[in-house]
Symmetry: C2
Amino acid sequence: MKLPKPISSLIEYFERLPGIGPKTAQRLTFFLLHFPQEELEKFSESLVGLKKGTKLCSICKNVTEYDICSVCGDPTREKRLIAVVSHPLDAFALEKTNYKGVYHVLHGIIDPLNNIGPEEIFIKELLDRLGSLISENSFDSVDAMKTIEVILAMNTNMEGESTAMYIAKLIRERGIGSDKVKITRIARGLPVGGDIEYADDITLSRALDGRLEI
Amino acid sequence: MKLPKPISSLIEYFERLPGIGPKTAQRLTFFLLHFPQEELEKFSESLVGLKKGTKLCSICKNVTEYDICSVCGDPTREKRLIAVVSHPLDAFALEKTNYKGVYHVLHGIIDPLNNIGPEEIFIKELLDRLGSLISENSFDSVDAMKTIEVILAMNTNMEGESTAMYIAKLIRERGIGSDKVKITRIARGLPVGGDIEYADDITLSRALDGRLEI
């Protein structure tokens, strides 16, 4: 018994998605067989429209429907506080905190083992953006006093740490507003609700290093 | 920050699939953003074509591209040995054994808690099929000798067991070829490689009841 072609071809597409193995792909496909045809058509339209209806924000490179995303276009957001994240979903997660700055989305992380070098992600665009923020500055006497803060908010795994180090080094080497740009990294420590007993030693020593006065 | 409409609408569709929660739906959608547009279009075509390109086999109700599925159309398969399964994927799983009979796909299981009664699944079609197999029989002297075997191959959970009991009762009550139809149920016992120590007591007592001479 071979599966009918329309079924096996949809299974193949599902299998190409991350975290979906052959069994799950089969289950999803057979589940969709019970969907009304018009729902399948709407689903398929949103697939086709996914990329057609979205573009990258010309400032922060986040995914948006317009030329400038809702965060960059919001006058109440602090434009001199930039969180650099690797993916749009990371910015989305930070939005759930009371963060009031803006973002810069790299769309990836430097990962030589998977052939992703610094040129593949939006690092150059970050440097250009910082450069123009500083030059704008010279004409604007009120903002000129404020420093720019770049928060390196990548994951705290090996690729995230090395990408953060690389970007920090690059900003410093290029001497981009050396006295006006402050570079920070999100804190590494115990997650809230975490057990000291079960924390790994690297996390624990980071938590000690990053201790704050209360 | 709100997610762009084309993205949130695709996330919503993924969320409706079984076993896919909000986080996974987001991850799948953002993964697809990196798909080439033509691949997205092919994916969407297979979604639309899923139901258009398939129908139910007129004999066994399995999903097929033609009027009669490859199993029912195969002259080497034993047509008087019918495995009744609840879903097409169950037939697909049985095909990996050396089973040489045919199938009957119910497309569901009797589950009163979820409002699925006997009329919602292809039980009537099974009875009709058995009825016509028996009447065909009277004209065919060679096959007339062979009994028909109905293997009730539903899951061994509560819904599967009660559906099996219901179908067996129905076949017997209707007196469909009472001496010519043998009704069997797949064996319940320890899975191969299983530990007696960790088996639950119901499985273990079923394994004892179904012991075979070696």
